[in-house]
């Protein structure tokens, strides 16, 4: 890839000046689009400007560590980290990093890092999203099939397919079974949400996760809310907020 634009993130002016000078020596055509010295100003800059081809990024900035930038904004540029410390090398690996230069930066090391960028073909470095997608594809996510629960002086298992809904009551998580029995589970609804097959289970509100087969009837309620009635448990009334209602209907319509 041709290297056209570089952003320098460096909080110490003498270092920034030196870096600019070195860049101009090894690649006179490169455009240094900006120099930023704070985490906060970098985030702002990246939000309002086109992201550059490459970022030369100091790790310790005036207001914090540069890794915070990645927490606040999606960075698509490739990164060469520049630092006086070697303790962050492993952490730097996580980002779109193609180099880690220790200060004082030597001209030939900088040139090697730029050369590495130029030798890459577009997309030869996989983004984190792409890697995650690939992993999902190779290992389809498996969902929880059963629960192991303490029972008398031993254990028993309850199959997820036998559960009609999960509810949270007074801080306990309850599973309601087709057999009209209840079980108390150690998991929270938040944990269960991640473990259950989203085709079969839906978190309708703060209190309930419903199995798709548990639903008997759906009624329009005030203010765009929906009211759901359940099979087997006619006394329970479940309200779904207007915000959630569309997602709920989409879930039932596929």
């Amino acid at each position: 890839m041709r290297l056209n634009t570089v952003l320098i993130i460096e909080d110490e002016k003498p270092n920034a000046d030196r870096l600019k000078r070195l860049l101009q020596q090894v690649r006179p055509h490169i455009q240094i689009v900006s120099t930023q010295e704070y985490v906060s100003s970098t985030v702002e800059w990246l939000q309002t400007n086109q992201q550059p081809d490459l970022i030369l990024m100091d790790i310790r900035l005036s207001d914090g560590l540069c890794f915070e930038i990645f927490n606040q904004i999606e960075v698509s540029s490739y990164i060469v980290f520049t630092t006086a410390y070697d303790e962050y090398a492993i952490k730097a690996f996580k980002y779109n990093s193609i180099g880690y230069l220790l200060k004082p930066i030597k001209q030939n090391e900088l040139e090697d890092a730029l050369y590495k960028y130029e030798q890459m073909s577009r997309g030869s470095l996989l983004t984190a999203d792409a890697i995650e997608g690939l992993i999902d594809y190779l290992h389809p996510k498996t969902y929880r099939k059963r629960f192991l629960l303490p029972y008398r002086d031993g254990y028993k298992t309850v199959l997820t397919e036998d559960i009609l809904y999960f509810s949270s009551e007074w801080g306990n998580t309850k599973a309601a079974l087709r057999s009209n029995n209840f079980e108390i589970l150690p998991q929270t609804l938040e944990e269960l949400e991640k473990q259950l097959d989203p085709q079969l289970f839906f978190r309708v509100n703060r209190q309930f996760i419903l199995h798709i087969d548990a639903i008997k009837g759906i009624f329009k309620h005030f203010n765009g809310k929906l009211k759901v009635e359940l099979k087997y448990y006619p006394t329970i009334e479940i309200l779904i907020s207007r915000d959630k209602a569309n997602a709920f209907k989409a879930w039932l319509d596929y």
Partner: protein
Amino acid sequence: MKNQQLGYEYAENFSEVYRYVLLNSSRNTIALKEELDFLEAYIYMTKKRLEEGIIFDLDIDSSSLKKEIPPMTLQLLVENAIKHNQTSKLNPLHISIISNQQREIRITNTRIPLINKPLSSGVGLNNIGHRFELLGFPKPQIEITPSLYTVIVPLL
């Protein structure tokens, strides 16, 4: 070349710092006067790096200058303050180094913790405490308020 003068000054201060560390790091104590000369060379370099991001305030009573202190105690406390706090030009880090009537030096810095702060090992501060203990002197005390961090170092 631009800034040639700055280059000379920086090199002089750097060599002063380096010489002090080489000559004195194995000593138990050193006169406060000498520690302060060394500290000033260190402060010079720090200011060149951080520019308006840091402000120092030194006020040492001349009667304290002959007292002793383990070498590099003050410098390490200044380095710690810089390590853990923001040094932004809009909200600079203030560090004051002031002697009092109780034969102590108070090193106080404003607390503006870094975003995404690295974990601290506490090695530097523990090291200072141990050195005072080994010499048979009371350990420096630490005072923390929401806005200030102070280490009170006894003079020996």
